[in-house]
Point group: C2
Chain length 213, copies 2
């Protein structure tokens, strides 16, 4: 049965699907074969009604009262999120953070593979980081333009993030994960997501204060 994706699915629903996929994968690793929206919801802190409603956008994937077959639901969510393939990823910035990304082993089994590591610093260019030789950022466009690289990660200081984003977009990248703590501007059709730990910490410190008093 082909997936019904013609309807407009809210972006906030799409954003929860990776959480469902991750929780299902752990359930499978723990030996479970069937789960319920209730069990998933307890793991994720999301209501079971919300989970059922989210999955109903894609046809439901389960029968009332019998729960979800975990391998089937994993397979379908991988289809929907298009991670039943491997997307090559370019990382820009080979400092501590970029190096940690290059060493990280958790991308590949979830649909992504770091294939290039670029930096502007002559002291880093040519160095080996994990299995990568750091390439000069001046060669980014030439290197990526011949590839089908659509995904990039920015791990450079905030004041260089916009120019790196421009380079990535110029090389055909259409999805950027930005670790630099600054908003970047990209043309329509290019996606950006942000990772800034301090934003999360400040979100929580609001509540810590209340209970100090």
């Amino acid at each position: 049965m082909p997936l019904k994706l013609n309807e407009n699915i809210p972006d906030i629903v799409i954003g929860r699907l990776p959480l469902y996929l991750r929780a299902l994968t752990y359930l499978q690793q723990e030996g479970h074969e069937v789960t319920s929206s209730h069990e998933l919801g307890q793991r994720l802190g999301i209501s079971s009604a919300q989970i059922r409603k989210d999955l109903s956008h894609f046809g439901g994937f389960g029968k009332q009262g019998t729960g979800y077959q975990i391998p089937y639901l994993i397979h379908k969510l991988q289809d929907v999120l298009q991670v039943n393939r491997i997307w090559p990823v370019a990382v820009v910035g080979a400092g501590n953070l970029g190096s940690a990304i290059a060493h990280y082993r958790g991308f590949e089994e979830r649909g992504f593979r770091v294939c290039w590591l670029f930096d502007a610093d002559p002291r880093r260019i040519g160095q080996q980081v994990d299995s990568f030789i750091v390439q000069p950022i001046s060669e980014l466009q030439a290197t990526l333009s011949g590839s089908n690289c659509q995904v990039g990660m920015i791990a450079v200081p905030a004041d260089r993030a916009q120019e790196v984003a421009d380079l990535l977009v110029g090389a055909g990248v259409r999805a950027i994960l930005n670790y630099a703590p600054i908003n970047i501007n990209v043309p329509p059709g290019v996606l950006v997501q942000y990772i800034d730990p301090v934003v999360h910490l400040q979100h929580m410190s609001f509540y810590l204060r209340a209970s100090d008093e």
Copy 2:
């Protein structure tokens, strides 16, 4: 004028305040003294109406037609988020990610300071990482219990994250930033936020697929 915080402010509003604070700080660094909800909105991809509504929870901070005084608004948001002080932070996991966190220079000016770095691996314990000596996780509770550490970061593999969370909570931590790609359970009153780059990548790959076809 004291801040009005008695009303119940939606958590999603609190979550946007760190983004406003970050954008305002950059505007100030660029030499601006005054901004508008329109300008802030353009930087952040958030509507100006939303920004005005969010800030109105705290009394508004600006006069109709004259915009916001940036230093004043920064000061007020720092007050609200309680980052006009420094929260000491314990990091657990001194691998590539934990080391990158220990080296990161962007915490302190935004309200947080990494003060401890723990690991369970005897090969890492006692090693120097940035200005830290890696301490054994077996000493976490004794070390933190005498401190006023309320903030912890988890940078260990997924299968160790829950026990590390339990240790942190036992030592008095009430806000956890979890980099391990798994949901953790904590008692009521303890906050958890998550950083998992693959969740962001999978969110974007959904849309990449659509335009491949």
